[in-house]
Symmetry: C3
Subunit: 657 residues, 3 copies
């Protein structure tokens, strides 16, 4: 049985790829490095069921026995990402149909709604769960792999989509009204005419596309739910999880995570990354299960297969990535993968062992990490990451934008990332939450570019502010219905009186063209998307300094109840956002040099501060609170040097705070 | 009944998009702004015929009544751009088939040759014309909307194309000869083997593609003609027009315009445009109906939905666009659209009223325009634009080029635009005419890059020159038959002796590589496409100054009869063209500062000169002839300042000329 | 009967394109220019067989008679590149099916495995061979034209591919093992599930794609073989050849050439080319038939139809191209084409005569060339090009890379070209040979980026080195099986002990990022792909000077038997490669100024050195060995000036060597 007060290290292994007489050697090497858990069977359907209903579990039993002998627990993957060739030859419509009506394959491109496939998956997962659901050597299950929300345009999906719409809208009149089908004579005269948004449609609506994206995400979630439900019929003490793809935008993780014991994700940062995308994903993972720990089901340790270039891993970086995972909330880390793969599109040396089966630098770093965690891992495991702010991340908003991306110069995902980056740079940690999340625990809530709104979320935001919170809004907010139709009122009137201003006009500039704003006596160049604001009750924080609207308001702040709403009327601009947040938070965070990341975990066991240095040179850090560095066991305070690709992990002594 | 001695202002309205109790408010606001005409029903097929043969005219009757009460006349659009979903579900082959045999929808992508669709369109238009053909509240009809010449590859189009070819070529031998099918064994053995140029063809000819483009254009023209004919059976005093897309190259406006009382077009200039594309379209619109006035059926007044960026409209620009329309020949302007749209791909605030229904800056500018025109609009309406030159614009040439665009560095449309731009910059106005146009009224005719020629047009050009005209030709002229096959003679021998030179060789340079020519002691850098000319009887005006052909002729001039032919042997180069035209015209135009546009309208009511300043700063203009500025009512002469985004509109006093 | 001790000049003519009464004029002009051979009928299927089984040879008989009267021999093309329209309308599946199951035409895009087409081709070629196989006026046959290895995905190809795989792998288990189908559950349960790699496959393997590319190449080779076999049944004294497309990578010329008497190719160099691609193709052509002469079946003399720009041909260049052909091993040159084409996509003036039928500059240069060759052509014809080195060119490697091009910054073809270019710049001539070639005759063998290896080639390479040769290897060598699967050993262990080092890691840099290496006290910037080498027995020739692996080996040299292996662990870098070769060859080549190309032909008739100056200015060349210039008949030695676009052709006097 697995423990939630422990940080697990492990790896992913594909015994079916290697000679059976090598398995014991590999497991011994894992044990020697201090690994405790190994994931198997993840893509092995054709080996588990080589012919329809012919089960072949012997090899897996054998591996479980070897693993157990060396003290390794096992996570079983349900291998449903890769239906075997006999299956999709027997039922060719298992392959997803594209918008042109063609069977169009590719990794994971099968139809979630195909009934025959569902039956085969049910049979497979049932067989696995019956056999291993009570097996103490198995601590948990990973369902499928990196689920995508494949959009399939087959006849079955057509029928299911129509049913889904009927359930959502009730009547065809309601749907016609919600989608605005009066436009271009798209109006549907009967349900039978409501199609998927295929290429064969004479006219398509952006509202239809949005609903299709919702349907596709839900189809994937139901696919996972069916498997989770089968496993739980046979298993009580094993966890059920899934390895998601981080900020992959097509699958609603808020909905998916509800079905899991904890969420997992697969992280493949580039060596020359600035890390902001990784920590955004970490913060999302932590937030989809209300701040509880998540697992890294795949953590890069070698070369990545999906990129056009591949920098050699810098010494120390594998260990540092792992500490970054923990610093943001991970309680389990499986390094991907044990030994480098030989086949097809993944032929880079991406393993802890090279193709030749020999340990390499990553192996030594992981062994070091394991030794370190053996000292303080359990202490950390019992803490939670502290977040001061929440950033709203709306899948519906991503999908609505993708249905018709009018302005390439401004994208929702970029805005969210920029606001998150500014907070991170200032040393604040933000949860990344659903528009329907409970916001009461936060001091600051940031909702960048929240175009699509519904009454529920508007009420939550208003409650948050009137109770004393500070809400930061930005451009293009509150302009569209939940069905992707523009309101017939002045922007952003649906947000009500809390904003205290209205948008008179906008100026969407081409690349390379700029205007400027004056904020707190400082000029900031701005471009891409600018809004000319008319304050009603709001105070003007910044004004434009060029073009015919020179002097007009660009940033406003309004008091509402006991709280405040700041509205940033321009596309994100990093130094501007840092200035805005400095004013919003009214408090200094830690002083962080570039490329150093700071978070804290806190619990009964103490408060632990991470200062991670993501660069090939040492740098000086001013420690916020003194304490003992768990790695060096030294007492640290004031100015401290952190080595290249190294960290401070301080158990704080805040007795004098 | 409509008047041709009046300049109409109006807008486009979609009553079906708004609550019926709002209609009166909107119409009142229109009336208050001085609007006199409103276009409705343009895309409302699904509302007019919600089920097959179930007509629903009540709402339209109601709107007509409200409009009439407020003195507004109505233009009815036939809503055939947007067949309702019941129609294309009942007959799926209504959706255009693409070159891969797939039904491939999209805006306006239906098959003009589909017989079932034709029957439904006939029924719809008949029902509308019967009901409103004699209704005095309706002053005219707009057929369809922004017709595209959709290329459909369905079986019906296949049959119709074969019939069209039989009619054109008579025998298969003639077709084989004209298309040069001896090349690559493309020769057709029987009519049944002559296909549309689908992707499934083993071999395709550029001659076939050219004829298919002709067929597609004609199919669209016939589609309009069928509707016009029905309307005219029921209507005597209403006009019939169409809103074209300016210099959209796939539909032959010369052919289309013959079927209309006047042509209309939809203009959406970018705020940062240099305006040359707009005035080229204006000059084309005016010319397709022999210099008579056209209408702006959609004139941008807000944000445009089809562009990646959207600059805020500068103050004064809506009014200035309208005056530019009038300056180039418009006698009617409908601003698009009355109130901003809420649905699907057109969600920008593109209306005179915002989404919220409130008047904005555009409303005030339009009201001002209306007040101004009430003073002198009728006077202007009775004049015609004066043109000194004609530029030939050959759709067949565009299509032939698109069938196989060999040299991306030189494009026919760019050449035409450059020659037009040079004339415009010099203050001359050019008509943009068909290769078959009557040229006798012009002093100068410009035929850039006229590769495709036929005996008729060659005879017209020769007549024009021998009668004393000056013809300007440019590169790649006279090299191809009307079927897109190269002549077996020396270039440009088909143009006969009037050119007085032959093309020895060409040099098609890659981007960034240049040669130079010396013209009138001045060096001009040239690139892209250069021809080495061998003068026969022509005089050499410019020679190359680099490469092995240094000293060879680049520009020549030949006397022929009483006229002249100038041949420009290099790709367009703006300052060179201005120099060439200065020599051709032998006369100084007005001195125009950059971004100021000049035209004149003349008639019994007087002569009116427009100086339009398209920039955010005032500029000094030297007025050519003194007179009274109709806007300020001041007498002006000599040096005058024109405000930012403002104009002079001078009723000239040429008593002393 | 043709002679192999003669250099033929000729052209390509399409009598069917021109009036019959023009033929005699054209042939007279050919004769006057000194041409001796003319290729006809190459694309004339529809003229030879206008209806199924209706033969029409009269026109060809007539042309042969005219040609014979003027002393011109004829090469007959089998016109199978262009099946007539009646054929592919009668059997629509003659058109190639694309990966989406669509008939997808285009030049030469028919199915080689279509049985009906094969029957029709057999009948056509039989009819031609029966009639002309013994005709003394016909000296040879060109089969088809510029064969492409069209990948067809039809049902017949599916069946044939399965049969091909069965023959190759024997059992399904062997195929599953070779392709690594255990990955992602791709494992095939029955032969019927093994498909072509269509878009409809749920999962595809890169091993499958590699085998499909092999199958496609073989299908094209079999297509040619069937025709060659028919011709040889009827013909004894005529040659059989094919005009290939140079370094076109999809068709295995090593396999194709075995079926021909000699290989031919079509060369269309750009005027501003640096010529390295042309001479690489020349060297390949010469090598596929073991150093024996080849023919230029199409040598550009005018404008090219397949490029976006077209520089005018510099005076002297047509003659110089021809001498370059001869200098690299050509014994026949047909200038393409006689008269400029009028039809479809080839409308540029690409003929010796212009469209108008008049001789032009190219005609005069060809006549001059003919006069010159009449003096010494036969002497040259009996020599062979001398090559000091061999470069391995592996089609399997190209195909494997294309199946999944992981790193865009490093491509096999670029590496081969760079090593060839370095040798050429140093004045060495390299054969371009198959991985299975006999290497014993060479002093140096270069095998850039030889990832795919098999036991046979490894044995050949080891034999070459141990016998005293010097082998130059480069990055990514010896890492993959012949089925495109990575070995489970350390890179490049399959190459055995001859390399004397192993690859510890690699660093694949993005564009614009560099590291450096120090080689022989000189620093070279390197990027794209770098390998960190661990020397075992090898000597370190270069080390890195940056990043964490500073000081690690980048280039090594190992003694093995009597020979040496140099391993270049970085992506090609031109000046580095020249330095490496200077060390490898241990001998100075001729000192060549930029843009001067040097080769020698040698035989009983003497030794002839070519110094070709590809630039518009004269340049000084230091002649390596003195001798008589065959062109000027002057004795030359020491420093000599070569004119713009001119050459020295020295019959060397090496009596003092």
């Amino acid at each position: 049985m697995w423990r939630d007060d422990h940080i697990y290290l492990g790896t992913a292994y594909y015994p079916e790829h290697w000679p059976q007489d090598r398995w014991a050697t590999d497991v011994e090497l894992m044990q020697a490095a201090g690994l405790e858990v190994v994931r198997v069977a993840e893509l092995a359907w054709a080996v588990l069921e080589p012919q329809p209903a012919t089960w072949c579990f012997d090899w897996l039993d054998e591996f479980l026995a070897i693993a157990a002998r060396h003290g390794l627990s096992v996570i079983l993957g349900t291998p449903t990402e890769a239906p075997p060739s006999w299956l999709w030859h027997q039922y060719p419509d298992v392959v997803a149909t594209d918008e042109w009506g063609r069977p169009h394959g590719g990794r994971g491109r099968y139809c979630y709604n195909n009934r025959r496939l569902q039956e085969h998956i049910n049979a497979l997962v049932s067989a696995m769960a019956e056999r291993y659901g009570h097996d103490p050597r198995v601590i948990g299950w990973q369902i499928d792999n990196e689920l995508r929300a494949t959009r399939c345009f087959c006849q079955q999906c057509q029928r299911d989509f129509r049913g889904w719409l009927k359930a959502r809208y009730g009547s065809l009149d309601t749907l016609n009204e919600a989608w605005g089908t009066v436009f271009w004579s798209q109006r549907f005269a009967q349900w039978e005419d409501v199609d998927l948004p295929t290429g064969a449609q004479l006219t398509t609506t952006t509202s239809q596309i949005l609903d299709h994206l919702r349907f596709a995400s839900e189809s994937a979630v139901r696919h996972l739910e069916r498997q989770a439900s089968i496993i739980r019929q046979h298993s009580r003490e094993q966890f059920v999880t899934h390895n998601s793809m981080g900020v992959y935008p097509w699958l609603d993780l808020h909905a998916l995570a509800r079905l899991l014991d904890f969420i997992g994700w697969d992280s493949y940062p580039a060596v020359d990354s600035d890390n902001y995308d990784t920590v955004l994903a970490h913060d999302l993972m932590r937030s989809v299960k209300s701040g509880t720990p998540f697992w890294m089901l795949e953590q890069k340790n070698g070369y990545f297969n999906g990129s056009a270039y591949n920098l050699a891993i810098e010494p120390g970086l594998v260990r540092l990535w792992a500490y970054q995972d923990i610093a943001r909330g991970a309680n389990g880390i499986l390094f991907y993968r044990w030994r480098s793969n030989r086949f097809n599109v993944e032929q880079n040396p991406n393993g802890i062992l090279r193709h030749d089966g020999e340990p390499r630098r990553a192996y030594q770093e992981i062994a070091q990490l394991s030794r370190e965690l053996s000292r303080f891992g359990d202490q950390l495991a019992m803490t939670r990451v502290e977040a001061q702010a929440a950033i709203i991340w709306s899948y519906d908003q991503v999908w609505a934008e993708s249905a018709h991306p009018q302005y390439p110069a401004i994208r929702y995902a970029d805005e969210v990332a920029a606001y998150h980056r500014a907070l991170t740079q200032l040393g604040f940690t933000a949860d990344v939450v659903s528009p329907m999340a409970d916001l009461s625990q936060y001091r600051w809530v940031v909702a960048p570019m929240l175009s699509l709104v519904n009454p529920d979320m508007l009420a939550r935001l208003a409650d948050f502010v009137s109770a004393g919170g500070h809400l930061v809004l930005s451009v293009r907010s509150g302009i569209k219905s939940w069905s992707n139709v523009v309101f017939d009122v002045t922007w952003p009137e649906p947000l009500g009186t809390m904003v205290g201003m209205r948008v008179a006009e906008f100026d969407a500039l081409p690349p390379g063209v700029e205007n400027g704003i004056i904020y707190d006596h400082q000029r900031y160049a701005v471009g891409g998307w600018l809004e000319i604001l008319e304050p009603l009750t709001a105070e003007v924080l910044a004004t434009y300094d060029g073009k015919f609207y020179k002097g007009a308001a660009a940033v406003t702040r309004n008091q509402y109840g006991n709280g405040w709403v700041t509205y940033v009327g321009v596309r994100h601009q990093d130094d501007l956002l840092r200035a805005v947040f400095a004013e919003v938070t009214e408090t200094a965070g830690p002083e962080l040099p570039p490329r150093v990341f700071y978070t804290t975990r806190e619990g009964k066991a103490g408060r632990f501060a991470f200062y991670l240095n993501f660069q090939p040179v040492a740098t000086a850090v001013k420690v916020r609170y003194p304490g003992r560095d768990l790695l060096t066991r030294q007492w640290v305070q004031g100015q401290v040097t952190v080595g290249a690709w190294d960290l401070l992990l301080i158990e704080e002594d805040r007795s004098d705070c």
